[in-house]
Symmetry: C2
Amino acid sequence: MMNNLKTITLKKESKSFNGYTRFYEHDSSSTKTKMRFATYEPKEKTDKALIWLSGLTCTHENFITKAAAQEFLSDRNLMVICPDTSPRGLDLPGEHEEFYFGSGASSYLDATSEGYKDHYNMYSYVNEEIYTILQEEFGIKVISIFGHSMGGHGAISIALKNPKKYRSVSAFAPVVNPLKSSWGAYALPRYFKPEDVKLWREYGSLQLIEDGYKFPGKILIDQGGADEFLNVHIHLDEFEKACQTGKQELELKYRIGYDHGYFYIASFIEEHIKFHDESLSFSD
Amino acid sequence: MMNNLKTITLKKESKSFNGYTRFYEHDSSSTKTKMRFATYEPKEKTDKALIWLSGLTCTHENFITKAAAQEFLSDRNLMVICPDTSPRGLDLPGEHEEFYFGSGASSYLDATSEGYKDHYNMYSYVNEEIYTILQEEFGIKVISIFGHSMGGHGAISIALKNPKKYRSVSAFAPVVNPLKSSWGAYALPRYFKPEDVKLWREYGSLQLIEDGYKFPGKILIDQGGADEFLNVHIHLDEFEKACQTGKQELELKYRIGYDHGYFYIASFIEEHIKFHDESLSFSD
């Protein structure tokens, strides 16, 4: 596999549950910056991969270090790829001022505002560039997508708009209605030109469902009951209602007492990996 | 359990595999500083605990965040406690100059040199103070000890000197001969007064075995074959020889291709927890 790596550079690797946890860097055509991502690659060659999208303030390292996923990925012979949560090394206006906008907070959208439109194209980065890297550099044939918080929303919105590209989608505590969250209220007008306010709905999981987008399989959402962001930024009740109206199949798992962090994610990551494995292993 | 916590303060907790990952702070009588530790406490009340000692540069957070141990501790109803690797918040001469001496690098010894003797009493801190906290604050009756690198050595040397206090001992990549490592060569003369050079041997796992100390059960040592420190600082071959001569039972597991980090530890943590659980669950 290593011989095929033409456009990406392996920076670090550690053997891990018989496979390898790896860290790569590459020049991204979407963001026009260097981008970093982490992977777990099981021992046996696989053609099945999961894309994991992390939340606000995270990097490509959080999931691979803290989610305890390698054991279950190894057991099921699945690869995971964890992109960074935004371009890095830039100094755009306001880019580093708030944790919910700019660096570490891309919202996985393609920006249109001055400055940001040249680099903050994380929707295309994930859905096109990372997707192609999986196919061409890692020999992956079938792909599912999941994520956490802002990245859970990223996973759902990307899957809704590209249902043929992803076998399954799941999320932990996804910010499904960024248009209603104060995080989104701050970020969206800064990522889009004023005349592009209509584009906001294309980056709201809830709005996509309302506008008729549909994922052919069940959307699996996991939510901690003690999540401090639940009723402020997450608004799952509204998403559930929209799914009912739009006849989008949804499974919502409430976990009593669990918060928003990686100790919670680690507790249930096995269920999500099993869920995706079942879709990824299904032969048409 | 929470009602008994008189001398320690809970700073943060996250539900985790039905139990809780917790972070505490307390005023230590051994170090005369505030000390922090992390725990995993399973859902059901338990009287069995493991002490984990981390390596150079680590804090009380590394193991609990990166080792993926909670799942297996929960399954077996065991508590773990992870002390910090040194006192913090001090500014002793040379304390923050090298990563292998001073802050983050206590070597789990009781120092006798000027300044350090007042605070760097991590041997007593672990073996007396943490031990008593486990008994009095958490209702623990039986205790085992394990660790990584400097902390693996700490675990072995503490268990060898206190065989009745610990049911079992294991280590990942332990620095068993600090007297031969350049890390120890730098640290030991700074932790001890010149006239206390004889004390060095009391803090060498290898030297303790040579001097007739013995642990009644098997010492389990885990070692990655691609560990960059193996032949520079770890010297397991010498320890193996000393154990043969001293008739100390030892099981040495080499893991081909694994390095020195937590991706390696996570890959084999289940085996170590199982090993300790068998000793901790044994009724006299």
